[in-house]
Subunit: 341 residues, 4 copies
């Protein structure tokens, strides 16, 4: 099959590479001619591209399939512009991190023009080229079926993990790493929750490792606390200088918390054992927030996922006013004077 | 009655003042002769004191009542020293912030010597002199009954709040502001949970006011966010420059969140509207931690109280390593570069 | 002044009573003639009313002031219907619990018709008649100034609480219990956060009291735990049978956690000491959710307020599927068998 | 080498199997002769055992190595009894889930007798036989070195996971799945935090999947809510009937949340798609609690890990009194009547 790709950043380019490897061809669109040329040099005849959107559309065979893989903020405008150039029967795929609300609106808006729309939540990050991308897909059955060959090439394939006990015979799409989750928006909905879980799991590791980091507190700080701070009651229990890079490594094999995130964490700690290259200002990029929003809409308690999100806000100093307020109250009722920060 | 007071800091001195006002007398012990002299000058014949513990004990009429009102860290040693000088029938009161575990141990240790022991959780802070102190008492019935006249003088009295509907006749001790909660440790247990609640309620206000503080985000920051941070989706909803000192003031009358803490908060904000005199490094002094400990021991879910405690830890930078870990993971799987802090 | 009131439920009727007491007059609109007649019998010449909206509008003197005090779900339609009957210069007040987004939309929609709009977040509940209502107001300066006499009558007045130290001279509106918070929506925004804080403070008390409730665990349950549940490590520390109604009473005077919520809690526990009349299914009515929403929009960490909201969801069984999932995982990796529920 | 094993339950027996497979021999002790006979029949000459502790000790070659693998509650007594039968130079290993405090005490108590002590936190659960056990070890260097051949056989080995980028040459112990973490208690400390992380990660998945479960709320429940519960504001966004077993399967390959826990979750959902065999009463077995304890001692904020623990408490009904209190307050200030549970 042929795939049109708008956006040849890391994710877009790697998706193109994976399908070309599998015998498909691709046409790319990007602002920078250089990116297009580089990819063409690498992939040969299977890839062409244009910085001009109209020309790009012209290079595609009808019924066209155009995958949009650009930052969420720019996706809406790009799809609008693209839709004006497409014809009935063509399909637009939003593979970025749009909010699923947008998918519902867009698919409705495109329907009268006869343009199909799929939302494909795409996980895999910088490792997608080798590891394959996990695809969570929303939209019409017929379109998903039509594009199955592409999804198969982009997804990791069944060999990427041992089969779940009890699953036999021809591997299902889910076992290959791609899934038609439901109608428009279902793909991004599932991807959104995936990222919400990711935030929670990341914080679980980060908090636990922070406890390990403090395990020498009895050795370092015993007795140094001021009257305003609680002294360590049992310093004899906090005398461990733990080697956190080695601990994350040992957990990778045989333990209950083994995971791909842990693999990456062990790698990051091996490369930078004290994390000196980081300051700890943690961004968040939408899905974590929307996950909590969806939970609140549907009255689902998410204390863990929300705590993870709020920790990111706090890491960026957003609790400062609240903290000052606490200090102001403590001074007001107890005369407590703040220690210098 | 006569009360011996060890520790003439703000709390100890104000307790002495309240009982002397009510016709009792007091004997004080303190390291600094100056503090004793000042209080004696203020209170006249009803107060004497000594910097020498033995002399102090000698000034008391048997059966002696000695209230220890010093920092929790020093209380144990002071009680040991005191116990050696007392006689069977005397009573020691720990009015500080000891962990209730200590009360159970101490009352057992003192019993063979015939020395009685009461733990009196004392709330009221710097306002206790005028407002009265709320007393939560643990220990033997007989001793509590014996010292009732003192507790009555120290506590606020029934007029400090409207009577609870349905409560009529002679006000109970609880309505006067003091309560015999149970055997040894019960007073400090109840005081401990009181402080745990205090942490939670303080954070409830602080978090809410922080939202009010950010209500102008659409006016100030709309569009300025980097690609790594989620932009404000609906800036039109965050255009309010709210006057937080005035808002805390208006809530003091008629609203559901009216409270003494709110009174203090409104006062603090009136005096320092932007809280410029605070940096937001919030101490914690034991009871909040022990409250969570007790909850965990007894399997009581305390998501709110624990979140309040952890926020204090975070305000002191204790999440830093965890935050760096999150940034390291984000870089590892997504290539995300940290924004400068 | 004259006030039109749509909705003569508890809140609406009590607002009418308070203004009539102060010499104003009122016109009411309600579906039930009976409610109108009762209020008319009580208030005499100062109150009239009609079950017919058009007739009701006809009873009002221009420029009319109509306060809408009905459930949030019905407010939008009622205001639309009302607006068709009003004239330029008239003012509509939404005193209910609308989301502030609606205020921004409505005030814009009404402006071309020359109809003014105020949103008035109203706190006070069933006690508003005697205690006064705390009013948080959004809208145009001029309208707020015009209606000041009504706000003064509805609000508690400065005597409802001691003045904040440093505040002298003529009491400000905030000291009287009403405040012009900002433009359209600002009143409901502040009321929303007020309720968010209310949720957090309520949970702080509830969690703390639950710890007190479990303080006898060592006496009751020591040793009865199964191998699958952690036994109580130190039963000697959990031997207290605490009298929770008395404890809430004692905290009302002199303690740091004294508050109106605590007054009510002590009253509820005096009337029903074991809370036998409750099952613990806790509703939530919108503002708590919107508060978290606003926090997430503006990146404000609210771990305490969100934990309080999620606890309400959990109380209604909404965590059940997640809990089953945890049990399924525990069985999968550890062979742990669930204890019967 | 030869290993003595006290406790031939699933974990103990599988450890014995793994070392025997690698050419070591084992001696077992158990209450039930049947278990010993079964294992002897399976393992042939390499395994013997006795129900009599003294006889068991007699079967071991000095210097003896005895691994104790029984429930945490029984470990202390078993070690005391064992220590009386051992000789200087022998080594006791606690491979169970003891609190690390105990290790520090025990190693000190055994030192004067010349008996060595190692604590070995052991993760792997029911899959340990095939997957290998992850071993976190505390104690003296020399003893750890001496027993390295056994640890190697029990641990998964380096092939159990791809090597971390940058790690080359002879695999370290951590890469083989075992690690000497530090002095006495360090092994159980690291295992404790491992389990704390496990709780957090489990809840992250469980909460996220619960959101997926509720994604059809707009289809099912739209409009059915009572006045006391917030209606679903945007039912059009919650129309998805998601296939959660398939979604957990698709995430296993290529996604950021791929993990061993997810593998197990997908397996559990494939076997029981609606989790009908579970009621959702989730036990906790000590380590999760101790993790929070350690965090509080060292002032480490752990909002995610604690929320996960508290959710387990709530799943067992432990929030009930707090929930009733919330309902009582709501009735008191707002007249809100509880909906039936």
């Amino acid at each position: 099959m042929q795939l049109g790709m708008i956006g040849l950043g890391r994710m877009g380019a790697n998706i193109v590479r994976r399908i070309v490897r599998d015998g498909h061809s691709a046409v790319g669109h990007e602002r920078h001619q250089g990116h297009i040329d580089e990819l063409a040099a690498e992939l040969g005849d299977s890839f062409r591209g244009s910085t001009d959107l109209k020309e790009f559309v012209g290079m595609l065979d009808a019924p066209r399939v155009v995958w949009v893989m650009i930052p969420a903020g720019a996706t809406g405008a790009a799809i609008d512009e693209l839709a004006d150039l497409l014809e009935p029967g063509d399909t637009i795929i939003d593979g970025g991190n749009s909010r699923y609300h947008e998918d519902i609106k867009r698919s409705k808006a495109l329907a009268p023009k006869g343009i199909h729309y799929l939302d494909v939540g795409t996980s895999g990050g910088v490792f997608g080229l080798e590891r394959g991308f996990c695809l969570m897909i929303g939209g019409e059955d017929e379109q998903v079926r039509r594009l199955e060959p592409l999804f198969k090439s982009i997804a990791p394939g069944v060999d990427a993990a041992p089969r779940t006990p009890g699953r036999t015979g021809e591997p299902t799409p889910s076992e290959q790493g791609w899934l038609h989750c439901g109608p428009a928006g279902a793909g991004h909905f599932v991807k959104m929750v995936h990222n919400g879980i990711e935030y929670g799991a990341m914080s679980a590791y980060a908090e636990g490792l922070n406890i390990l980091k403090h395990a020498d507190m009895g050795a370092d700080h015993g007795g140094e606390h001021s009257a305003e701070e609680t002294p360590l009651e049992r310093p004899e229990y906090y005398q461990y200088k733990l080697d956190i890079p080695e601990i994350t490594e040992v957990w990778r094999r045989g333990s209950v918390v083994a995971s791909w995130l842990l693999d990456l964490t062990a790698g990051a700690l091996f490369a930078d054992p004290n994390l000196d290259s980081f300051s700890g200002r943690v961004s968040d990029s939408g899905e974590g927030r929307w996950t909590i929003d969806a939970a609140i809409d549907t009255a689902v308690p998410v204390p863990v996922l929300s705590a993870a999100l709020f920790q990111r806000f706090s890491s960026r100093g957003e609790a400062e006013y609240a903290d000052k307020m606490l200090s102001a109250m403590r001074k007001a009722f107890g005369g407590h004077i703040e220690l210098p920060k």
